[in-house]
Assembly symmetry: C2
Homo-oligomer: 403 residues x 2
């Protein structure tokens, strides 16, 4: 004990142990998500230079892999940035100063579209809903009917701050009916929800490496329809790093305008190979089953679901009043299972159980067992085992995924 | 032969072999630079979540390591972006619409400051020099004397497109004399050149992970003086992802406003540990010696130096007319040694030999031997061995670095 403690100039033995065990912890948040071992290992390959045929071929192969997931023939630009960077790229390139745009805020990420639009001085209409509910296509139609001249509708497929999934297909249909382009934040929705960029006519779709793609954060993606491409060629706002015209021109040759996060490209390439092998339909089905099983477990544990229309990416749960932080902390410290809490005004009020990414049934047992154990520790689990029993039944009913 | 070739649906045997050997190739470019093995291995650790004490502690420790390299007590913000992102962050946050600024272009990266300033609609003064030469402090003083009201001077320490190093210390002194802030692109200069942020009063200094820090690309850095911080609180241009106020506020708690490239933070932490152990003075001295030895080898091979004031980061060389591309290609294909060519109007006219990053004397022998061999193959090396002999003498005269 003395020896171990003396190794740490600052901490106690328990803090030393917990630091060393950090890499043992499991992540069950809506992002970042766990990275499969073969992806992690690929990050450690010697760095290759990006102005080479090798990198360009890899880049184009990754762009094709993304097209498979997005279900599109549209070009897909990859940014070295978080998903927010891709959101700003969409806002700054697809709108012109003074444009009137429509947003569909019902959580933190929908509000981010509004903040971005304000930053760029746009007129912002809001078809909004309380956090936890979804914005209906009817609301979008009313907004577009009452206020003409909306150039772009900015919406969100999975609003991970509240756990809902919105009807982006129908919202896009209505937007087009009124002559507006539609930009979809599908950062948490890609791989986990049905999404058909081309069949639904989505003009811009956004994704991020650290979500369903099981790659570390640092890359974001953006697909562009022909109409969106026509729009971005008129420059209105100042853009440089996020200049979509430069990015598209570079992409044709497999290049990026500036030095890309090469190691993360290598990792993403490996992750896309797995998704291709698994198939995108099976990937979405796996997410649907995990989400359904987790919801049944949560209900069996007498916890309330927060989301009106729950997504396959994350399950938002209302725990007994005042217990959220204690549950999250104890799951982390005692069981090494990291779930997420609420964001913004939901901080301290909800739990968010992540099942977005490369998670299988065993992972769901691990997470729900830790939740059950934590609730038991906190005297909030009157009949231990009910959650796991419900998971068992849900997965058993579904049978194995045909992969 | 038949079996190997049949494995590749598209390529010949030689293309298959060269693809498989890509990870064996050595990088001697001004960036990205080679990544030490312990940094590469750290990238493959299981992903940790960023909203945790573990990440915040790592982030603050990295920020401290960067302060040691920058020689500053100023806060240092880390962006998930290439160095160009940090350049845009500086331009967009430190200037106001309509500002008059001074640039010192003498190559591609100096021109980038001008392009950024135009993007943001600023009045751009230029104290410029031909590519290959440096902008003198006298030119900067003349420009500031003749045209009052310049708010910020944007300059470049190492202009890697031409291989020169500028007198940023003196440029900063003059800028301050005329009441202007000074922003220094030290992306290629950090770790390789003398730079003292606080003693020289540099208001904003920029760095990038893939340069002297030997970490894969994807992170950029930006230090802010008190005067710069006062300036950024007045918002003029639209900024969201690169909002420095938000980034500074988050940094106090060890946070980033948006999901950071976590795996690259882990790698950067390992790289900074090595730099600390080696010492920043020794690190710069190692770069000085490598650069000096490479210049002597280049002269011995009867190649001309391109840079008026050569930097420690890269040696720009004028090869015999019309031979640049052939030299670069053959060094890459036959010897697996990747150097860089010219950029912009220098494409096809110069070679750039990189010695920025974690390179030792053995690495310089490797690079110069490949250069000699390539020149021999191309019948451009009349007395083989002179380059290596010159390297031997240069390093021998210096003796071992006292580490």
């Amino acid at each position: 004990l003395h020896v171990a403690a003396s190794r740490s100039p600052s901490g106690t033995l328990s803090s030393v142990l917990s630091m060393h065990m950090e890499y043992k912890k499991r992540i069950f948040t809506p992002g970042p998500t766990e990275v499969p071992s073969q992806v992690l290992q690929s990050l450690a390959r010697p760095l290759v230079h990006h102005r080479t045929g090798f990198f360009r071929e890899m880049h184009l192969s990754i762009a094709n892999g993304l097209k498979y997931v997005f279900r599109t023939e549209n070009p897909i630009v990859i940014w070295t940035s978080s998903g927010t960077g891709a959101m700003e790229a969409a806002m700054a390139n697809v709108t012109l100063p003074g444009d009137k745009i429509l947003t569909t805020p019902c959580g933190k990420f929908g509000e981010r579209w509004c903040e971005l639009a304000s930053t760029y001085g746009l007129q912002v209409l809001r078809a909004e809903a309380e956090w936890g509910r979804v914005v209906t296509p009817g609301q979008v139609e009313d907004a577009l009917k009452n206020d003409s001249g909306v150039s772009v509708v900015f919406t969100t497929l999975c609003e991970t701050s509240t756990g809902v999934c919105q009807d982006v297909k129908e919202i896009a249909r209505i937007a087009h009916k009124y002559g507006a382009l539609v930009v979809v934040d599908a950062i948490a929705g890609l791989c986990s929800e049905e999404l058909d960029t081309d069949a639904w006519g989505l003009d811009v779709v956004l994704g991020g490496s650290q979500k369903g793609f099981g790659t570390p954060p640092g890359l974001s993606f953006l697909s562009l329809s022909r109409d969106a491409i026509a729009r971005i060629r008129t420059k209105g706002h100042p853009v440089y790093y996020f200049d979509l015209v430069k990015a598209l021109d570079s992409l044709e040759k497999g290049d990026t305008p500036y030095t890309p996060a090469i190691a993360l490209f290598v990792g993403l390439g490996e992750a896309l190979k797995i998704i291709r092998e698994m198939g995108i339909e099976n990937t979405i089905e796996r997410h649907r089953r995990n989400a359904q099983a987790v919801r049944s477990a949560v209900a069996a544990l007498d916890l309330k679901l927060f989301a009106e229309v729950p997504s396959n990416a994350t399950t938002a749960v209302i725990p007994p009043e005042g217990s959220a932080s204690a549950i999250i902390d104890l799951m982390d410290k005692r069981y090494g299972i990291r779930i997420a809490g609420g964001q913004g005004k939901l901080a301290g009020h909800i739990l968010r159980l992540g099942h977005l990414g490369f998670y299988n049934e065993s992972d769901m047992y691990t997470m729900i067992a830790a939740l059950e154990a934590t609730l038991l520790d906190l005297k909030l689990n009157p009949s231990p085992g009910k959650g796991i029993k419900s998971l068992l039944e849900s997965f058993h009913k579904d049978g194995p995924i045909d992969v």
